[in-house]
Symmetry: C2
DNA sequence: AAGTAGCATTCATGGAATAGAAGTGCTAAT
DNA sequence: ATTAGCACTTCTATTCCATGAATGCTACTT
């Protein structure tokens, strides 16, 4: 579809623009393409007709269109190896065995946002194949306890439980025993229904102050269902890019970043690292998103990197690939 | 020091400017102060000599100086009652007994940032008077366990432990027992030294594969010392203020928000809600910070609200006061 | 047929000039 | 002590250039 020279030209335009953030002129490329600027102008006109490049005004140089970037990413760009220094920084995190997986992912994405100057996002949650392995209830004051659940995949959460006044210690213990017996092995997202339909009847029968006690534990245990949590780092990075040079552009992006619905929507599934350029993503047409799904040991989610459209796609891809691999290994 | 009329004038200037974000002219106030604009100009000149107001250029209207805001906050502003609607929203959070204190604080500050359109910050950590009440180690795979500590104040944290290969179950159990026995009652910030100087010798003596095992547990337990964590919400809010109308101003603030050292520095101690106007704070001269320290049940920290200098100090103060009170009650 | 030189054309950019509006400070009168 | 009035200053927006950096196209060359 594109001649060899056109492809070469597109490559030069994209890479030049990524570097300089200025529309690329025919003259600037004539030396690199061993032909005159007039010839390049002709080729540029062809590329523009095909929709790969655009002008910012009638006599301006050329800028890659979304389609142009897309062609570049799919057909021209050579996947880059991660450089040793960057790899080392990330390796250190994943080789720290004490870190829980989700912490390792968060930290590594922080590093990535520093390395790239883009914005990193982790949408993570415990997956619903987490089953309760153990619950632990620890008294910390006369009428206050801490309820802790631990899942078979190693996910841990805790809540307060306020014990109603006129309840004896043995009743509390009895209640905990009943809950514990019935709840172990239950997937996280079914906990609240098991509490309601299996635990409650038993407590009703055996424990005296059942109503108040049941409510106290129910409110503590009922919201353990996997909820995605959002972690962003380097929000600022993206906005330091020279294309975001006026307040309204910056604010537009900031508002999108603030909108949890939009961010949650970044969620990706399927294998592989995918790129969404400009209008291809549903966040903002001035940015590109590169992201991938991960699952490991009961934690799942999406890691994403958001940069300007003129992002270094090869580097971003290499970084996400590396992290995805390491999540798999952990 | 200020005559009654001057005080009245300053009040009008501050409140007018807070509302309109435009320098206040003498003419605009003449109706409200039942005298002519010329008289007001004379009074303004006096206020300017005293340093309470400023001009943006030689023939402009007046804008409050930092000193002017300070005088307004200290001597003119009447402390506001929190309005019922806002109070209700916050009350709902603090009356949710299942929420751990730190979560309740974080959520309430999120609400506050929405109610004010300022940026809310919570710098929280478990305080060093947390003593370990219990440790729990749960196996989740052949060579992987989850270590959980619970403090007497109800603070919970967890880490991974990778069990070295050639180690028997009984040795692991023995090790956990030793650690558990020696570590209960130890304040969080002393855990790592107790591990090193009290636990290690015992393990050395009794457990066979001591070196590898000790290291595995040491790396899991050693970093439980109270570390402040930072929680910001509504970062964007502040930057939507009309005074931040160009990219460089927005970026300046964003950079400061990104600098963890600067944010951690917001830390406040002592009682009461304090206001730092413009140059009084060491974040940025274009903003004001209002903040207060909190301590309750082993959690301590600072909650802060950052707004433009022309913030509604009375409202901000009322909100922080209310939250501080509720933390006390919880 | 492909490449190129050359030129008219277009538009962005930045500076200078201008006019109007919004305020102030000051003087003189009340 | 207050105020009316006016000269003065600065901001803002607009217009008008001149310049420079590109392009597209035509006609010429290889």
């Amino acid at each position: 579809m594109l001649t060899g020279r056109q492809e070469k030209l597109l490559k030069l335009i994209v890479e030049n623009y990524i570097k300089t953030v200025k529309p690329v002129s025919s003259k600037a490329l004539s030396s690199k393409l061993k032909c005159s600027s007039a010839t390049i102008r002709n080729e540029m006109a062809a590329l523009e007709n095909l929709g790969f490049i655009e002008k910012t005004h009638i006599s301006s140089g050329r800028v890659p269109s979304d389609l142009g970037y897309r062609y570049y990413v799919d057909n021209i760009m050579v996947p880059r190896e991660l450089n040793g220094e960057d790899m080392l920084k990330l390796k250190q995190i994943f080789s720290n065995n004490a870190l829980v997986l989700s912490d390792a992912i968060n930290k590594s994405m922080e590093i990535v946002s520093e390395l790239t100057n883009y914005t990193a996002i982790v949408l993570g949650s415990s997956s619903s194949d987490n089953k309760i392995a153990k619950i632990e209830v620890v008294p910390i004051a006369d009428n206050k306890m801490i309820a802790i659940i631990i899942t078979d995949k190693g996910h841990v959460e805790n809540r307060n439980v306020s014990i109603p006044n006129n309840v004896s210690k043995s009743e509390v213990k009895q209640t905990i025993d009943i809950i514990s017996k019935l709840i172990v092995g239950v997937p996280l997202n079914e906990v609240s229904s098991v509490l309601e339909f299996e635990v409650k009847p038993v407590i009703d029968r055996y424990v005296k102050e059942h109503e108040a006690l049941y409510n106290a534990f129910y409110s503590a245990f009922s919201d353990f269902a996997p909820k995605p949590n959002i972690r962003m780092s380097g929000t600022t990075n993206l906005l330091m890019s020279p294309e975001f040079d006026d307040a309204s552009k910056i604010r537009k992006i900031l508002n999108k970043f603030d909108d949890k619905d939009i961010i949650r929507n970044i969620k990706e599934d399927g294998d592989g690292v995918k790129t969404y350029i400009g209008s291809e993503n549903n966040i903002d047409e001035d940015i590109s998103v590169i992201k991938t799904y991960f699952y490991k040991d009961g934690e799942e989610g999406t890691i994403a990197l958001i940069g300007p459209k003129r992002m270094e796609y090869d580097k971003a891809e290499a970084l996400l690939n590396y992290i995805k691999e390491n999540i798999g290994k952990e």
